[in-house]
Amino acid sequence: MKFAAKKLASLALTMLIVTAMTFLAFSLISGDPASTMLGTNAAPEQVEALRDELGLNKPVHQRYFEWIKGFFTGDLGNSYKYRNQSVTSLIAPRLGVTLELSALSFVLIILISLPLGVIAAGAKSRFYSVFRSALNRLCMAVPSFFIGLLVTWIFGITLKWFSHGAFVPWSVSPAASLLYLFYPAVCIAVPRIAMTVNMLSSTVEAELKKDYARTVRSRGAGSSRLLFVHILKNSLTPIVTFLGQTAAEIIAASVVIEQVFVVPGLGRFLVSSISYRDYPVVEAIVVLLALWVVLASTAADLINFGVDPRLRRGAKG
């Protein structure tokens, strides 16, 4: 209970700081939503009238408090760019798309890196370990957007396995939707799989050197039983924490990848909203992202609590 209260308090504080920083950042950088929307052919009077209408002539702290008030009453206001649409109605479908993409990426990361990492730690061949670390470095070093271009070029244009830009929403066809998102998910997953494998294999290698591993082996357990049952269980805590961080990073990576693959998600919407100076939308997305990061680390903590009795005892005492 105490744990939950502590988490909630830290969540609230994080949100408050993040939203205030965003407001402050926008008041410091130049660029005005009204003139951005109206462009070069509008008269200054038109720009001023729109500024008034959007409430931009009020001081920044007043706008912030009004926004906070709206947030707690469930009213995030209307978008500046799409003035007929509420922020909530604009963001909801995009949140769904990004969650779908993130979940798919996360599943790929776990499915591929867990077995690979453990196998890699057990492998003894020198050639294999050199090959592994070279491949690893390469995967980690290549930026996601480049992998995006590469994947599109190979699978979209040369092999024609998918049609770049032809995203299908979940509501139309879940299967087609997942199939399209498979490719961007791979691009998000590849560098993170490399990192997870790296992290996992060094953890497992360290565990293998411990006394209990030798004891288990001397009791006659086969090497795969040793690896996947005993060692993996004992390496779980750092892995779960690491995966919690990875889940948070996936969202950041999706900002770039959504643009490359023309996926109508939260990340792409965030980028265009920033360029339009559409503050209400940016604020709402920033809150969601902060929430996501906090939730991912909380989930990791909770899982560790469940698997590691030492942590539970520590919390009670």
């Binding site: 003139s35 929307m37 462009g39 760019k81 693959f261 109508p264």
Partner: protein, 495 residues
């Protein structure tokens, strides 16, 4: 176990790839997907649309009493014919038979009266302020009376005719054009369909989906992989990437691209410095190096597509001449050159590339230029709004089919005279143009204004950029206009 896990992993990947390869084909041959770089305005009301990107698309949905042709002439659209009284104070319009709105209703005089008065009364078309009255003679005849004559009045009659008292224009626009608006999803797509009751030549395809793809690389990828059929405003490099499956048609952007100089700050307040820069910068080299030879060089605030107002001999008024530039700089007191900043919006690569070449060319005359990249939103506020800049590379377009749209902004008191150009001669010429009612005479005055800008080296004029349209092979029928519009109605698949 090791091998088993690896085999499982491999089969998972193969399965995923196989499933993915079953992705279905796209729509029929009577539909096209048009890639555009930014979403339309939120408000689709034709009288309230502001951005060029919105107007160029909604050109297909709306029509005025008159509409422009590809040659830059104005021809009757919603009206069948019109006559002007001898004193030029009264315009009589006979409406065309059988013109229908997208909602099925026939266009009547009431709709025309409503549309014109709405534009005037709500200040939506400032040029309509001189309308003293709009009168319905009968169901098909409307008379517009002016308080003073104006040569340019007809230009503004392209303002859309919309159904009287229809409240949903902003979200569900209804016009008389060859395409009707169907739906839109913010930041994703806009769907238009052929209007089968259109009075003129029917559109060549049944459905056009305008897909928003902000990232330039992604747009090229979508074209290549087949989900987009056509895109405009492409650069020569992008088109070169597309390969065999595409055909490109070349137009110009209808922009005046220049190194705009803040005439009020040192050293650009000195005409000798501005002239020196004009001699130092070689626009032909810029076009060759950055744009692969595509692009029309210009020498004043007018582009060749506006043939009526264009003065060709101004293009090479300042022939590239490093020595002349150096001696002008010495004369102005800068024998060793000076340092300057070129502010460039970061969202448009051609402007950035142009500025990069300019930096090199200026080095040859001893001027050290530094490029400062800013976001478009910042550019609008700092450079355009607050005039806080030394020089900038951008392009300006004409909102209307008249020279005024490009030239008025440099009159000294104009609120958008962001370069702080100040010339009494220029102001006087503009004032004279406004009260000249003979078209030929007025055109001559506008040309004189262009000469003024060139001789005073108000800016270093560069070019009207090439605008390449890429079409999937088999798709044809692109039409180009002297103003920035995208005419979708001619597009069709060759049978």
């Amino acid at each position: 176990m090791k091998r088993k896990a690896f085999a499982m992993l491999l089969s998972f990947l193969v399965l995923a790839a196989m499933l993915a390869s079953c992705a279905g084909p796209k729509g029929g041959a009577d539909e096209i997907v048009f890639g555009i770089a930014q979403d339309l305005d939120d408000d689709l009301d034709p009288h309230k649309m502001i951005s060029a990107g919105t107007k160029e698309i909604m050109f297909n949905v709306f029509e005025g009493l008159l509409k422009p042709t590809t040659e830059g002439e104005l021809v009757p659209a919603v009206c069948e014919s019109y006559s002007v009284s001898e004193d030029r104070l009264s315009y009589t319009f006979i409406l065309r038979e059988g013109v229908k709105f997208h909602n099925g209703a026939e266009v009547k005089s009431d709709d025309v009266v409503y549309s014109i008065l709405r534009c005037r009364d709500e200040g939506l078309v400032p040029a309509f302020a001189i309308i003293s009255g709009v009168e319905k003679k009968d169901d098909k005849t409307v008379v517009i009376a002016l308080s003073e004559p104006s040569v340019e009045f007809a230009t503004y009659l392209t303002a859309a005719i919309i159904p009287a008292d229809y409240e949903m224009q902003s979200t569900q626009p209804v016009g008389t054009g060859p395409f009707k608006f169907v739906s839109r999803v913010a930041q994703d797509n806009i769907v238009l369909e052929r209007f089968d009751d259109y009075w003129g030549e029917k559109a060549g395809v049944a459905k056009v989906t305008l897909k928003i793809i902000e990232n330039a690389d992604s747009l090229v990828l979508s074209l290549q992989s087949g989900s987009v059929d056509i895109a405009s405003h492409l650069t020569a490099q992008q088109v070169a990437q597309l390969g065999d499956g595409f055909r490109a048609e070349t137009d110009t952007m209808k922009l005046v691209q220049a190194l705009y100089l803040n005439n009020a700050v040192k050293p650009f307040d000195d005409i000798r410095v501005r002239r020196a820069l004009s001699y130092a910068i070689d626009k032909h080299e810029i076009i060759d190096v950055v744009f692969g030879g595509y692009g029309s060089p210009i020498g004043s605030s007018m582009y060749p597509a506006f043939a009526k107002y264009y003065v060709p001999e101004l293009t090479d008024y300042y022939m590239h001449d490093v020595e002349k530039a150096k001696s002008l700089l010495s004369e102005a007191g800068y024998p060793n050159g000076f340092s300057m900043t070129i502010t460039v919006p970061s969202n448009y690569q051609p402007h950035i590339d142009t500025a990069t070449v300019i930096v090199n060319q200026l080095k040859a005359v001893g001027v050290t230029a530094e490029i400062k990249l800013v976001e478009w939103a910042s550019w609008l506020e700092d450079v355009y709004g607050n005039r806080d800049f030394e020089s900038t590379v951008v392009g300006f377009d004409a909102a209307q089919m008249t020279a005024r749209a490009l030239l008025e902004r440099f009159t000294s008191t104009h609120k958008r005279n962001f370069i702080n150009y100040s010339s009494e001669t220029y102001d006087a010429l503009f004032a004279k143009a406004m009260i000249t009612y003979d078209d030929a005479e007025q055109t001559e005055i506008y040309k004189q204004m262009e000469r003024e800008l060139t001789e005073n080296a108000a800016n270093v004029y560069i070019q009207d950029l090439a605008d390449l349209v890429a079409l999937r092979k088999g798709l044809t029928g692109v039409r180009f206009y002297p103003i920035d519009v995208i005419d979708l109605s001619g597009l069709h698949f060759e049978s």
